[in-house]
């Protein structure tokens, strides 16, 4: 079964990281990808641009309207995600804890099952 591991980040927490911490996180993601690739559980990962780069389409009277900026000024936002294919929910939770973000106070990983999927070339 496939799970989406969502990395919920907080700008103020990210800004407060030291250079060493940032290097550790980068290396940690590399090691994590290597490990889940080797185990045959890795499907995909993507990192997203900053929410300040977002545009939001919202309907006004049934007509789509484009707005600049994030949908909500939330403290936490989606920084990126992994998709993994695992044997159980327990395994998904175990993997989520291996993501380096999971060891930084103020960052969070949300784990949610995937229900439907279709891909262009899989």
């Amino acid at each position: 079964m496939k799970y989406l591991l969502m990395m919920q980040v907080d700008r103020s927490v990210l800004d407060a990281l030291s250079a060493e911490q940032m290097d550790e996180i980068g290396a940690g993601h590399g090691a994590f990808i290597d490990a889940i690739t080797a185990s045959g559980e890795f499907i995909l990962t993507q990192a997203l641009g900053d929410p300040s780069e977002s545009a939001v389409i919202r309907s006004a009277g049934g007509v789509p309207q484009v707005h600049d900026g994030p949908f909500l000024e939330a403290k936490e936002f989606l920084g990126g995600f992994y998709i993994v294919d695992v044997d159980s929910r327990e395994r998904a939770l175990e993997l989520a804890q291996q993501i380096p973000d999971a060891k930084i106070d103020g960052l969070a990983i949300e784990v949610r099952p995937i229900m439907f999927e279709k891909a262009a070339d899989i």
Partner: protein, 408 residues
């Protein structure tokens, strides 16, 4: 692979691989060599014609490839291992253990692929490739994962087998029973994965169910006297027979009591029933036989109303004693509702809700919703349907449950 030789190739694949493993003992390399020989056959045979002895052809090509692989693997290693390699290559000239029947090789392969040291997804993937003769790309597409992910999973599984030193060999009767049960479990999971995909948009993934039936047929062919192997195949056939009626043309789920029974596959029902009757006469009754018997009662009922629920209830009681599994108790609760009425069923469901293994599971909420509807408690039924709809990971199930709630 081209379809003309497809079936033949896929039947021969495990026999060739099994013979190689018995002779050389190197499952991981033998598996690669067999795949290479299959690809070669699929390329050459359509043009040059199928050889007179296709199994012999495949074995010869695969064994030459294996010797090459063993040599090149050896070249990468240190000199001290040369001796082992020479011994393996020398076996090429030695007498072939032809006295071993292809069936035994295939069974030993199944035992290896379904070994307990492998994860469930690895067991299924390896079985589909090594015994089912499917390519990695085909398995990957059945599971909607990238080919590289599936390739890695299979390679990891083969590595596990290698490092655990698993090989073919004589088994104690109890061990053999355990291995057969493990194989049956893997095949049944494979079947269910195809029949009611736990996640995904389409309710049935035809390929995995058909593959599971094909392999269960093989298992039964190898072990004709084994009641559980017969029961497993019978259960699959009797369940799969309802597939044409299980969804509408738009992919919506149709519950058993509303299915158009004229759409059921009569040939599959006849075959499943015959297997069941034969096995019940000659073998001790195990869990798969009992489940097949329950499926047969549904399949043989002219209408939902004429279903022999007393017998279904009796059989679920039997099954509940054989295997301790809350899913069985849950199914028994449905039969209780039909025989003793909703009140008795709801009491059972309340007790089940306290079991952490099933409490909160969408199937429990779904059954509760149906029984509450039977009892005429509309508000509670609607709430339970909605709770079940939120908890399921199947899109067709969710649509069905939501519609059921809206209809009240």
């Amino acid at each position: 692979m081209p379809s003309i030789a497809d079936d033949l190739l896929r039947t021969l694949a495990p026999q060739v691989l099994g013979r190689l493993v018995r002779r050389y003992g190197q499952f991981d390399l033998a598996e690669d060599a067999t795949q290479d020989a299959l690809v070669k056959a699929a390329t050459l045979w359509p043009d040059e014609g199928t050889p007179d002895n296709p199994g012999g052809w495949l074995y010869t090509v695969a064994s030459h490839r294996l010797v090459d692989l063993i040599r090149s693997e050896a070249a990468r290693r240190a000199r001290e291992e040369d001796y082992a390699v020479q011994a393996a290559v020398a076996a090429d000239a030695a007498d072939d253990p032809a006295s071993v029947a292809p069936d035994d090789d295939t069974l030993d392969l199944l035992f290896l692929c379904c070994h307990e040291s492998l994860s469930t997804s690895s067991q299924i993937a390896l079985t589909l490739r090594a015994v089912g003769g499917l390519t990695t790309a085909e398995i990957a597409s059945a599971y909607l994962v990238p080919e590289s992910t599936m390739a890695q999973r299979i390679s990891r599984a083969k590595q596990t087998i290698k490092s655990a030193g698993l090989r073919f060999g004589e088994l104690e009767p109890a061990q053999r029973r355990e291995r057969i049960d493990a194989v049956a479990r893997v095949l049944y999971l494979m079947f269910n994965e195809g029949y009611a995909a736990t996640a995904g948009g389409e309710l049935t993934r035809v390929d995995l169910s058909s593959e599971a039936i094909r392999l269960a047929r093989r298992l039964h062919g190898i072990l004709p006297g084994d009641g559980e192997a017969a029961g497993l195949l019978s259960l699959m056939l009797l369940t799969d027979a309802r597939r044409p009626a299980r969804t509408t043309s738009t992919g919506d789920l149709v519950p058993l009591d509303e299915q158009d029974r004229t759409l059921w596959n009569r040939a599959a029902i006849a075959e499943g029933s015959e297997l069941l009757v034969g096995a019940l006469k000659s073998s001790p009754t195990g869990p798969y036989l009992v489940q097949a018997a329950i499926a047969a009662i549904h399949d043989e009922a002219e209408s939902a109303e004429s279903t022999d629920w007393e017998e279904v209830l009796h059989l679920y009681g039997l099954l509940d004693h054989m295997v301790s599994n809350p899913m069985v108790t849950l199914n028994r609760a449905i039969a209780v509702a039909m025989v003793d009425g909703p009140a008795a069923s709801l009491r059972m469901l309340d007790r089940l809700a306290g079991d952490p293994a099933i409490g909160g599971h969408y199937r429990l909420e779904s059954v509760r919703a149906h029984v509450l509807e039977m009892a005429g408690d509309v508000a509670a039924a609607r709430a339970a349907y909605r709770a079940a709809a939120r908890a399921t990971l199947s899109l067709p199930e969710r649509r069905y449950l939501e519609r059921r709630a809206a209809r009240l």
